[in-house]
Symmetry: C2
Subunit: 98 residues, 2 copies
C-alpha cells in the first residue's frame, strides 16, 4: 500500500471538531458507542464492517454486549491519524443519524 500522510497537529485539532464524540486516545482516533443490547451493537458493527471494507480502511475494535469501542489509525501513515481515519469516523457517525 502506498504511503499516506499523517495529519499535522493543527489539521487534526481542526478536523476533530467535525466529528464530535471522537477523541484522540493512545495516538488513535477513538470513540465508544453504547447500545441497548448485543443485537443492536453487532448490527452497528455489521454496518461499520461494510463501510470499512468499501473504504479498504479497517478499524481496531472491541465489543462486549452493548458496548463497541472503535480505534482508528492509518498503518500506511506510520500508524498515525490520517484523513482516512477522519473520513471513516464521519461515515460511522452518519450511521447513527439514520
Amino acid at each position: 500500500m502506498s504511503k499516506v500522510q499523517p495529519l499535522s497537529a493543527a489539521d487534526l485539532a481542526e478536523q476533530l471538531a467535525t466529528v464530535p464524540g471522537w477523541t484522540v486516545r493512545n495516538g488513535k482516533l477513538h470513540r465508544s458507542f453504547q447500545f441497548p443490547d448485543f443485537v443492536a451493537a453487532f448490527g452497528f458493527m455489521s454496518q461499520v464492517a461494510l463501510l470499512a471494507e468499501a473504504a479498504d480502511h479497517h478499524p481496531e475494535w472491541f465489543n462486549v454486549y452493548g458496548t463497541v469501542e472503535i480505534d482508528l489509525v492509518t498503518h500506511a501513515a506510520d500508524n498515525q491519524i490520517s484523513q482516512r481515519d477522519l473520513a471513516l469516523a464521519a461515515q460511522i457517525d452518519k450511521l447513527l443519524d439514520a
Copy 2:
C-alpha cells in the same frame, strides 16, 4: 439472570483439554484467531455473533484486520469461567471445522 456456578479448578483444567487452542488469560477463556483478511475475519465474527445470541452468552472480543481475539467469562458466575464458556468455545471451534 440467575446465578451460574463457576467451574472448579480441577473441572476447568480437565475441560480445557477438550478445546485445544483455548487458554486461560487474565481469568478468562481466551483464543486468538487469524484469517487472511478482514472479510474472512468479520465473516467468522458474524457466525460467532449468531451462536452467542442464540446461547444468550456473549463474548468480549477484539478485531483488527484478520485477527480476532475472543475472551469468554460468565458474568452470572461472578465473572469466572463456567460451563457456558466452555460450551460456547466448543461451538466456535466447530465453525472452523466446517
